[in-house]
Each structure stands twice: as structure tokens, then as C-alpha cells.
């Protein structure tokens, strides 16, 4: 890696303005034209702060305490704010994580791109518009003429991110900083956006700083990679070297979290526990003066599946495919429009609240967001005890206390945590508590609704590990709802792929992952990053 350096960051230091607590402790790297430099790390490692500091866009609570960022001859930190405005967008551009919120909701997509041009060029009127349309076409937005006057909310997630990219590239900057550009996107679209960035890097000789937490993205996109950990770059290497020979244990862990598509769960038993037949969940659409129901949103549109005892069934699909609604329907939290759910052969649908009670004990749930699934005003002990009390497990207070201690230890937490409150725990710990809560009533089936999607990769693995252990120990079945195919191989016995309320393909994990038949499954699979294909 030699030659021209587009941007050089030297010993960048950032601290909290109020108490001087260091956030970045001397970060240095260089960006080269036509190359993508990836900065990887888990949340809180300081990778976003690095990018914002380089652009001098830090929030007021943080202050740059040292270092230099030079672009060409200029040190950006020596410029006045008004001079800096001439650098931003023209020489250094930036795209952000969540395009929906990063775009101004009350301006049309075209106007926002045009603004960049207006700020840095003398284009105006029709010429300006033409240029914007041209840019839209370049970043692959269909019907660029029409899309000019679309508001951000009228565009799909991928298109929004493309508008962001168009905006960033409008003035042909030398450097592009992309801060988690694909995180909020569905996997299939994620791939397309990354392709676009790669392509533009090549064609425009851009120097790109790509910030991400996703090792798969790094593997597929970057030329060089640096791992950040607690405000420092702990390892820096060309991509191939890095993946084949990581120097640091931490880097190793990150790489290990990538899926291994060669080992699958063997199918164990075939004793059906839960059977779904043509389950439908509709939500009414009301219109008109009298709010009559004119149509239905078919959230779940005829799903049939079966889960055996001690088995894990992974339900995979992108957001909005109806997979979570299905979970709620099984729990009798949403009303069904048709079909049958049988648990041990007994129908669950149309049961009243009271009739449902005996089954509550046997079917439990773990939610996606560990923070909102615990009442912040109750102690962990109280949270775990809730089910035991209301489902009448017949334990007295002391017995409950003892059981809570055991459960906490079982999920690898300390028994005396029961007196503490949810906000004192990390996400991973909370998810363990959620597991303990579900286990407390000794269920036969646990519906896991994206239990790991809010967790960092290194913790994710631990939680999945725990779930598997528990399955082996208690013979409990899981319905595992996820959007992330990469966690499936190590976990699931059966997989169902859901799209628009329907299961488009199901079978054993091995079948689906190695020999997908449905194009949608294939698309999903293609976007899963692998270390060694």
C-alpha cells in the first residue's frame, strides 16, 4: 500500500468535554485513492467517533483533544469553521447509517442532493436538476426523473441509501466516509449497496473509510482493515492477511462469529409438539366515512409447519414478512383469521384468556429487545418470579427464591443478581435473564423472537450457545424467529423461509442452506458473508 495518500489521520484523540474521559486514544491511519479502508469494532469501540472527529462533526459533548487530520496539504483541525464548510461535501463526503433519519423528511430527495451542489458549485436551475437526475441514475435509482420529487419516506430503504450516496458523491469528493452504510438494511439490499460503493470506489478513485461492525461486510468489501477496541486501533492489516492470520485474540473472536456452513444440527426425534395448519392472521384496513373494513393486511397468510419435541425450528425472513406476528398468534396474543394451531394435538385457537392459562406454562417467549422486555421497576427476582406466581406453580416464597437462584446460575449469572434491577445489566445479561424467566415455568416450547439481533457479535455467540445447552438439558423446543441466516446452521434442525406472510420454502437446515430451491432463499443466502467460501 503505497503511493498517494488522500487522508491522513494522526494520533487522533477525543474526550468527553465535561470530565475529560478519553474516547479515542490516539488513532492513526491513512486512506488511499481507489481503496476501501474498513474500521471494524463493536458498539462503543469509538469507530463512529473517529469518523465524526475527522469531519469535525462531533456532538458538543465531545471535544477533540489532539491529533491531526490532513487532506492534501491542509490540516483540517487548523481550519476555521467557515473554511471547514468548504471542505465538507466537496473534498470529504460522508454517508450515514440510517438513511431514513439522515435525510430531511420535509425536503424531496432531489432537493437534498441539489443542496450539496448549490453549496459547492455554481449550478442552478435546470442544469442543477439535470445533474441531480444524472447522479440518481449513476447510483442506480430507477426512474430518476420522477424520484427527484419524492420525499424520503416514499423511497425504499435501499433507495434512501442510494440518495445518500448520490448526495455524497455530488461534488466529486476525494474521500468518502461511510458510517455503517448498510446496517439498517435487509440483507439482500445490503449486498446491492455495498456493490455500488465498491464500484464507485473503483470508477472514481475514491478513498473510502468504511465503518462497520459486520465482519462479513469487511470480508467482501474492504482492501485494508483496522480493528478498533476501546478507542484504539489494536490491529491493522490487509484484508486477506487479517482473515487468515489475525494477530489479536479479539480479532480472532470477531472472525469466529462468522457462520460456518459446514456443520449442521442432526435431526433427533420426530415427536410433533406444535402443528400449524394454514394459520392466517389478518389486520383490517378501514376506510371511508363510517370506517368500514374494506380490506385486510394479510400479515400471515396460510402458514403450516410442525415442530418436534426437543427440536429447533428457525423461521427466517426479512422485516415485515410476518414472522413475528406468527409468533404472537401462537401465543394467542393476536387473533387468528383462520387455520389451526395444535399443541400436543389440542387446538389452541379460540381459547379464552382463562382457558389459555394451562398452556401459558408450556409455551414461553423471549423477545428481541432485552431492554423493553423487562419492567424497569421490578427486580430481576420479581421478573423471573412473575410467571411462577401467576401460573400457580405452587411454590412458596422460599422455594421460589431458591429456584430463581438456580435458574440464574443455570444461565451463567450469579444467584444474588435477583435483587438487582434490569438497567444494571448489559444486553447479553438481560437476554440471559429473559431466558431464565422463560425457563422458570418449565415450558416445552419457547418462541425466540430475534433474541440476538440487538446484541454484538461476540455476545451473540454466547447466548446462542446457552440456548443450545439448555435444549440439550431440558429437551425444550424452540421456534427461532430471525432475519439472520448466518446463525441458523449451528442452531436449527428445521428451517422455514418466510416472505410476505407465506412460507416459501422449508426443510432441514442442511437442505435449505446447501441446496436452496426458491430464488428468495438463494438471494438471502448469497448475502451471508463467509470467511472461506
Amino acid at each position: 500500500m503505497s503511493g498517494h495518500v488522500s487522508m491522513k489521520v494522526t494520533d487522533l484523540r477525543v474526550a468527553v468535554a465535561e470530565d475529560g474521559e478519553a474516547i479515542l486514544e490516539g488513532v492513526s491511519f491513512e486512506l488511499h485513492p481507489g481503496k476501501i479502508f474498513a474500521l471494524v469494532g463493536e458498539s462503543g469501540s469509538g469507530k463512529s467517533v473517529t469518523s465524526l472527529a475527522a469531519m469535525r462533526l462531533l456532538p458538543e459533548a465531545l471535544a477533540i483533544t489532539g491529533g491531526a487530520v490532513s487532506v492534501g496539504e491542509e490540516d483540517l483541525f487548523d481550519l476555521s469553521e467557515s473554511q471547514m464548510q468548504r471542505v465538507r461535501g466537496r473534498r470529504v463526503a460522508m454517508i450515514f447509517q440510517n438513511a431514513m433519519s439522515a435525510l430531511n423528511p420535509v425536503q424531496t430527495a432531489g432537493q437534498q442532493v441539489a443542496e450539496t451542489l448549490r453549496l459547492h458549485t455554481s449550478l442552478s436551475g435546470d442544469a442543477l436538476r439535470q445533474r441531480v437526475v444524472q447522479l440518481f441514475a449513476e447510483v442506480g435509482i430507477p426512474d430518476p426523473e420522477d424520484r427527484f420529487s419524492f420525499y424520503p419516506h416514499q423511497l425504499s430503504g435501499g433507495q434512501q441509501q442510494r440518495v445518500m450516496i448520490a448526495m455524497a458523491l455530488a461534488c466529486e469528493p476525494e474521500i468518502l466516509i461511510a458510517d455503517e452504510p448498510t446496517t439498517a438494511l435487509d440483507v439482500t439490499i445490503q449486498e446491492q449497496v455495498l456493490d455500488l460503493i465498491r464500484e464507485l470506489t473503483e470508477s472514481r478513485k475514491l478513498a473510502v473509510l468504511l465503518i462497520t461492525h459486520d465482519m462479513g461486510v469487511v470480508r467482501n468489501t474492504a482492501d485494508e482493515v483496522a480493528v478498533m477496541y476501546r478507542g484504539e486501533i489494536i490491529e491493522r492489516a490487509p484484508v486477506d492477511d487479517f482473515f487468515h492470520n489475525p494477530q489479536q485474540a479479539y480479532s480472532r473472536r470477531l472472525i469466529d462469529a462468522l457462520p460456518d456452513l459446514s456443520r449442521f444440527q442432526s435431526i433427533a426425534v420426530e415427536e410433533p409438539l406444535l402443528r400449524l395448519d394454514e394459520v392466517k392472521v389478518y389486520f383490517p384496513i378501514r376506510r371511508g366515512v363510517l370506517q368500514r373494513v374494506v380490506d385486510h393486511t394479510r400479515a400471515v397468510d396460510g402458514v403450516s409447519l410442525s415442530i418436534g419435541k426437543g427440536e429447533t425450528y428457525a423461521l427466517v425472513g426479512e422485516s415485515g414478512s410476518g414472522k413475528s406476528t406468527l409468533g404472537r398468534a401462537i401465543l394467542n396474543l393476536d387473533e387468528m383469521a383462520g387455520g389451526q394451531i395444535r399443541f400436543h394435538g389440542e387446538p389452541l385457537q379460540d381459547l379464552t384468556r382463562r382457558q389459555m392459562l394451562p398452556y401459558r406454562k408450556r409455551i414461553q417467549v423471549i423477545f428481541q429487545n432485552p431492554y423493553s422486555s423487562m419492567n424497569p421497576r421490578l427486580t430481576v427476582g420479581e421478573i423471573i418470579a412473575e410467571g411462577m406466581v401467576s401460573l400457580g406453580l405452587g411454590l412458596n416464597a422460599a422455594e421460589r427464591e431458591e429456584r430463581i437462584g438456580q435458574l440464574l446460575q443455570r444461565v451463567q449469572l450469579e444467584g444474588d443478581f435477583s435483587q438487582r434491577y434490569p438497567h444494571e445489566f448489559s444486553g447479553g445479561q438481560l437476554q440471559r435473564i429473559a431466558i431464565a424467566r422463560a425457563l422458570a415455568v418449565e415450558p416445552e416450547l419457547i418462541i425466540c423472537d430475534e433474541p440476538t439481533s440487538a446484541l454484538d457479535v461476540s455476545i451473540r455467540a454466547e447466548v446462542l450457545e446457552l440456548l443450545q445447552e439448555l435444549q440439550r438439558e431440558f429437551g425444550v423446543s424452540y421456534l427461532f424467529i430471525t432475519h439472520d441466516l448466518s446463525i441458523v446452521p449451528s442452531l436449527a434442525h428445521h428451517v422455514g423461509v418466510m416472505q410476505l406472510g407465506k412460507i416459501v420454502e422449508q426443510g432441514t437446515a442442511e437442505q435449505i442452506l446447501t441446496a436452496p430451491r426458491h430464488p428468495y432463499t438463494r438471494a438471502l443466502l448469497a448475502s451471508v458473508p463467509r470467511v472461506d467460501p
Binding site: R56, A63, L76, F77, D78, L79, S80, S82, T121, S122
Partner: protein, 732 residues
Amino acid sequence: MKRQSFQSPDAGRTGLSILLALVTILLVACGDPPWNNPHPPAADDLLTYQSVMTPAPPKHLDPAISYASDEALFIMQIYEPPMAYHFLKRPYELLPGSLAAFPEVTYLDEQGTEIAEDDGDPAYTRYTLRLRDDLHYQPHPAFAKDASGAPLYLFDSAAAGAAYRRIPDFPQTGDRPVQANDFVYSVKRLADPLNGSPMLGFMSQYIVGMREFSETLAQVPRSGWLNLDDYPMKGLSVMDEHTLTITIMGRYPQFVYWLAMHFFAPVAPEVDRFYHNPGFEERNLTLDWWPVGSGPYMMVKNDPNSEIVLERNPNYREEFFPTEGAPGDLEAGFLEDAGKPVPFVDRAVFRLEKEVLPLWTKFLQGYYDRSGEVHGNTNGVFDQAFVVGPDGVEVSEELSEHQIVMSPDVKPGIYYYGFNMRDPVVGGYSEDKRKLRQALQIAFNTEEYLNIFRKGNGIAAHNLIPPGIPGHLKGEEGMNSYVYDWVDGEPRRKPIEYAKQLLEEAGYPNGRDARTGEPLKIFIDVQSQAIGNTSMNWIDRQFSQIGVQVEFRPADWNRTREKLLTGNTQIFSHGWLADYPDPENFLFLLYGPESPLECQCDGSNNSNFMHPEYDELFRRVRVLPPGPERDELVARMVEIYRREAVWLYAFYPKDIYLNNSWVHNTKRHGISKATLKYIRIDDRQRQQMRQKWNQPVTWPLYAGVFLIGALVLPGVNAYRRRQNATARQGGK
């Protein structure tokens, strides 16, 4: 490349100079001072009297319906009743108004034959009224006629007259002389049950045939206008175009006073008919809103939300300023205009002022000629500027420059806290109860109360008859000797020790019941709006001097009235404003049969005072003509009132009206409101004074502009600093 840059100091300076320029332009645009003139610029050169109506606009202007002094203020300028009062003379003197002479009185027996005045009790009295021959109505569309002589503005449907929203909208007007029948018509209107006149109940006791007339009309099915001329009333007859008679039952000498009130002013049947045009009522085109009369002024604008404007009636009869007055009037300059034709001012604007504060300010700024019409409006603002002392009113130095003229006005009325004579604790006619009441009377220091809470605007009453009315005596003989002692040529309230002694004799030593030891607690019913916290505290302190505890029971007027009607009070507050200046109009306040419990009606004797001697005397006084014989009987009645201590305290309300120096002939008449025609204005002086008193203070405007500039500048600087900051200064 075009760049957006912010040249802050320049921009700040430019902004500031723009603001300054704006202020200057505004100042120029405002024109000459004074800027605070609340009146619109005059469109013509009519001499305009500028005054106020407070605190609310009149509700009724129909002479048959209205019964309030703030309404009389307008009605009495527009209508002219048969009788009137002399403007200057005191005691009040009746004069013929629209009559050519005093009414002729004849007494009739049952059969209707004339009898002599002192010939026993006559069955009827007949009043013969002869009109002046120069009476003429104001121009009004009701009198407008088409070529054929038929009324021009008579519509068959509401749509036909929908274009007219106010009286000035009618292009054609007409007028005609006043006729005797118009007076008859207006008395019939009093009797029309649909009008709901407050006089109906009272007058039908007297006017022959009024009750029957009213009952007949109640049976008549009607829609639209009903010509009252078609229904005769027994006691009324038209002799000729200028003569009419009114016959009343028995003998009622006070009837002639009623003739000076607007109930008896002429109303033309055409007018009544005009206002009953379909759809007129919905647009407030009624006699209640647009009065039509023969008085000195006529209404040209009635916007009760902001102002009422009267203009000179071009058809007003010949009238001159009186040439003689009461003693002192000549010195006070009230006779400067003697013999000149009235009215003097062409137009009178009465602006609505709900609050005393702005009214007061505008008066001091010279924008109102007088501080009030119906109220002096000086109570709330009386202070060091105006203090009522023993030698009249003292004025502060600043205001003496304004040369403001005071017009004191003692109304023929009385405000009092009465005892309920049927109350088991304070009521009753035994000696100890009398003493108890007298003790309470002594403890309540009326003079002090008036000084503090009415700013001296009141006279402590020793009598139930106010000054200016026969029966009111001044000096030692007019003193209430049960409460006061005559010391050094003036009455002095008896000492508290004496009150305590009386209280002990009444069985309440130190305010404690001699038998049970229970403290004496008295209950006072007050109208909640009429009393403040401070005066309640003050009264409490007064009675605590003799160990008596007070409990107030404030309530709204409806509730208070209910309590009075059922006798469910102990001490109550009440007041009475006389209709006419005769002792009878006050003495009846304690006449036994007038007790609400006695007559089962809305009687005026709310104290439920029952004293056979008093009642007997009253019946005699009522029919006696004024004279020494009557005076003696009245004095005996007053003595009974004092001895029995019927009222806790009483005072005659006094009001002070202030007049700017350019207003002349401002003497107040306690009863009649028809005095606007005598007012004279010196317009030139008014202009000068207004100029002088209202020079605006402009520095705050400039100060304000600089303040805004001073606030903007630091912001601009802060912005500039941020724009020039680098990341090196440890900042951002």
C-alpha cells in the same frame, strides 16, 4: 463561487439603523401629538360632549320597561315626560315639562261627580293635563309618509325590510307634533302585559281601569302590532288634541311626581307600529333600542358594545336656561347662562367604560369631559388627590392645575344594614332587645366606615329620610340621640363603654350570654359582590370591641332575595333609591303591611318591622299634603324608628362627580337625569388643555430599539466566534 457569508457587525448595524428608521417613520406617521386620543377624529364641527356610560350599557331604552338610572340617562334626554324638575332649585321643585301648566286636580266621588278637596275621602282623583303647543317629535322614519300619506316603511314580510339594519339606514324621515293621544297611548303601553312593564303592578293599584285593560289585552290573540287605541282604558280620556285626563283611585298626592318619570312620556302609535314590522325585532330594531321622543336629543347611534351617540333634536320645543336658582348658585357660576336657549351642545357621545381605571386616566388626560354620568366613578380612585375633609374636597397640587370642578351629589337614597325584627336573637320589641340593638348600633362606627370604605362619600344617617327631602332635619334636633351625644356643636357617637353597659343590661355582659356563657354571635347576610375581605375584617374588629362575634353569610342577589322574602336572616344589607322626593317614599320602608312575610309579596319592609303606632301614622302621612302638620307626624315616626333601633346602621350615599374646567352648568340633580340640555362646553379651552396634558414621552421608544440591538449583537458575535473557531483551541 457565490458564498453565503455573514457579515455580522455590519448586519447588526444595518438592522439597528433600519429599526431606528422604522420607529422614526412610525412617529411621523402617528402625526401630531397627542397620540393617545381615544376619540376618532371629528368628521364635522358639531360641538360634541364626550362622556361615559359605566359600567355596562343600558339594557332597556323603552320608557315603559326601563327602570334604572343608567337607562334614564338616555331616555330622559330623548323623551319629555309631562312634568319636570327645576334644574337648580333645592329642595327639589316640580315644574311642568311637556305640559303648559301644572295638571288640574279634581276630586270625584263614587259616582264621578266633582267634590271639594277637603270633602272627606274622595273615591277618585282626576288629573287634567294640558300640553304645550310647540311639542314636536324628532325626525324618524316611522313618521315618513309616501305621496298618498300612508306610512312609507310598512313591510309585509321580513325580507322586504331586510336591507335596514339600523335607524340611520332609512333614507326618509318625517315628524309630527305631539298629541294628547300619544300620552294616553304610552300609559296603555304600561298596561300591555306583553311589554312586562315594572309599573304595571304598581300603577294598576291607582289608575282607573288599568287592571281590566291589562286583563283584556291578555285575552287578545295577537301577532305583530296591536293598536292599543282600539282598546279604551277607563281612567284615560283625550279631551282634545292638547288635553287629556288621567283618573286615579282615591287620593294619592304623590302621583304628580310619577308624571315626571319617563313612564308617562308620550309614545306615538306610528312608532310602535313601525317597530312591529316583520323581522325588525331580529335586527334589534325595537323601541327598546331606538327610542323616539320629543325631548332635546335624539339617538343617532346605538352600539351598546362601544358607544351611544345622541344628537340635538332639530324639532325640540323652545326652552331656556332657568333664571333663578338655589342660594349660592350665582356665586358658583350656575347662572351665567340664565335665559339662554338650550340645549348648548350639538352632540353627546357616551362611551362604554367598564373599568374605572382607564376611565379615570382618560378623564385626567382630558378626553372625558366628566368623570361620569350616573356614577361619579370617583370612589375607587379617591385618594390623596381628592380627599373629602370637613371643608369640602381637598385637591392635590398636581390636579389643582387641572382646575377640576367638583359636583357633590347626595342622592335621595339610603343604604343600610337592617335587623330582622322577627329574629329570636336581635329582633323583638322588648326593652332588652332594644338595648342589644342600640349597643350594636353604637359599636358600629358608621363615620369611620364611610371614611375608609367609601372615602367619605356618604353621610351617616340619623334618620331614614335623606337630606333635601322634607322630614330631614339638620343640627341637634336631627340627631339620633340613642346613638349620639351632642358635643361641641356636633354629634358624637356614644362611647364604647356605654355600648358595653347596654349590652350587659340586655343580658350579654362582655358579649357573653348571661345564662349560658355562650358568646353572642351575630350573622350578617351580604351580597357577595358588594363586600370585600377588608371591610368584613373591619366590621369584625368593630364588634369585637364589645365582645360580639360576627359571621358573614355572603350570597348572590337571588339567594339574598329569597332569604329576605322568607325572613330567614338576622342582619341584612339593603338599599333604597327614591323615585320621588317625598318622605312617604322612605317611611313606607318600615310600614308593617309592606313586610314580605305579611303581604306575601316582594314588599319593601325587609326588617319585618311591625309597630301599630307607626303604621297608623304612616296611613295619615300618606295622604296629607306637605306642611307643618305632616312634618310633625313624620317626626314622630322617625322617633319610633330611632327608639326601636330597627337598622344597625344607615347612610345616605353621596357621590362626587368631577368636571374638567371647560364644562359648565354641572350642578347635579339628585332625581332628574334630564340635565344634558343645560351642559355647556368651551371647546377651545378643551383643545388647549388636551394638547398640554398629553405630550408623549418618546425616549422609551428609542431605548427599546437600542435594547433590541444590544440583545442581537452578542448573538451575532457568538456566531462569528464559532465560525472562526478551529479544532485546535481545545473547543470544538
